[in-house]
Amino acid sequence: MPARLRDRRLLLPLLLAPGVGYLLLFFGGPLASALIGSLRAEDGSFTLAWYAHIVTRPSMLRGLGTSIYYGVAPVVVSLLVSVPLSLAIRRHFVGRKLFSGLYKLPLAVPGIIVGLMIIVLFERGGFIDRAVAPLGFALPKLVRDDWGVGVILASVWKQIPFMTLIITSAFAAIPEDIRFAGRTLGASRLATFFLVEVPLAMPGITAAVLLTFIGSMGSYAIPDIVGPPTARPLSVLMVNEFNQGRFPQVFAMGMVLSAFAVAVLVAYYALTSRIGDAHGRGDAT
């Protein structure tokens, strides 16, 4: 028995080494070096100047705001589509199996192609504009417009399958009897949905929301291709700076973007653990 225990103690780091080691080397390391780089002046001394630039320069501030906007807006739209879609997929209908395979296709489509699709469809002079022109309508500017509608459309298109997949599974994990119990206790179909099913599916829904939010906040290709030149998110500004070789500035921007993503996650953990505490308090009574 002691021999086996020793084995295990040795085995664990050995098993963890490849995956965790790789990420430490090629993810943790560069991130740390970027962090150090962002705190160094040209002459190697410590400085917060690069961060000060982000807070003081209007273009940078707007970049941060735009990043958050490109993170939040698409997620809201995606959620409004994904939840009803998940509920529809749950029912039995003709060709359900085929559908649940097909709707996931956008998972395999690169962001750049989504950008191209948006241009083909929604650009002025694009397909929809031409299709509605004989009816006397003209499409408003939807690509590279000030509100970033093109960016939102592209992000939504890419997010919906992922979100729907997670949310569908979250709803599917609720036992049927729980739903029936709600009904026999006098709750209508709608009341059962909002009071029983939604709360139980909430962990899955929040996970999907957070992951898509973080994903689209940091994406580069879509806002670069279909976003307006007037308001560029931090990710696009970063690549511009990178191409001009201003590395410390790039790192500082990257840190701010990452810090924001991490902050959202930490806030989530803090919030859910507090709810957990509330359950814990219930024990005592």
Partner: protein
Amino acid sequence: MTALAETTPSQATRRRTFTREDRLPVAVGLYVFLFLAIALPLGLMSLWSIADGWPPPHVLPQSYTTERWAGVLGDSGLLRAAINSIVIAIVVTVATALIALPTAWAMARFPFRLKRAVEIFILAPIIIPGIVVAVGIGQVFLALGLAYSVAGVILVQIVGTLPLMIRLMTAALETIPDDLLHAARSLGAGTADIIRHIVLPLAVPGLLAGGLMSFVGSFEEFDKSFIVGAPVVETLPIKLYMYLDPYSMQLPLASIVSFLLLLPALVVFVIAGRVLRDDLMAAGMGKI
């Protein structure tokens, strides 16, 4: 047990009969949605790729040409990019699987104190925007001489594919009951036998899901490859990005490259997608 056996078949049939009246409208609605959202844009792009000029206000192209396809397929730069993309995707997928398997096994089967911390660390590359990882790594690679090389692109892409692979395989391996391994051991199987005959076959759903997502993820990866590899190493997404320069946009050429880029990914996805398990995908992808 007996009661379970009784309810399962009857439940399935009952649900079907209960929704019979709205089966058709739901199906029609969903497929129309699918058509508008996926088939229409893809169809338009395929039209653009063979249209011989498509000026407004025509809703459909007036004449067609295959010249551009011929031209593009004859372009050695594009061919090189396509080969690059495929080779990189295959290497990335295999390497990711090899690196992920032991770690996923540890995450799935071993209780240890810092497990939650390791879990969050593995999640981190998904949380930190790829562009940040790319600029950080880009500078390190410049110093190491790995920048602008295929090896560099492969290394940076694995950072993106590894977390998902580990999570998907962990989810798959977690479902193997302990008793199964004990049973195998009691029947005289050694560690190697257990891995070969029990663990690997049962890990197939995870490997498949992880491998698929890795292949597609690598094939379509742009942000990191662009920073580390462009303009020396060209993959299909980088090529496409260049065609989409807003100042010299070439829609027909961009459409052709899009198809070249999309086709392998879609083929793999449709074929493998049939055997993917939704619950596993959700468990691996949607957990924070």
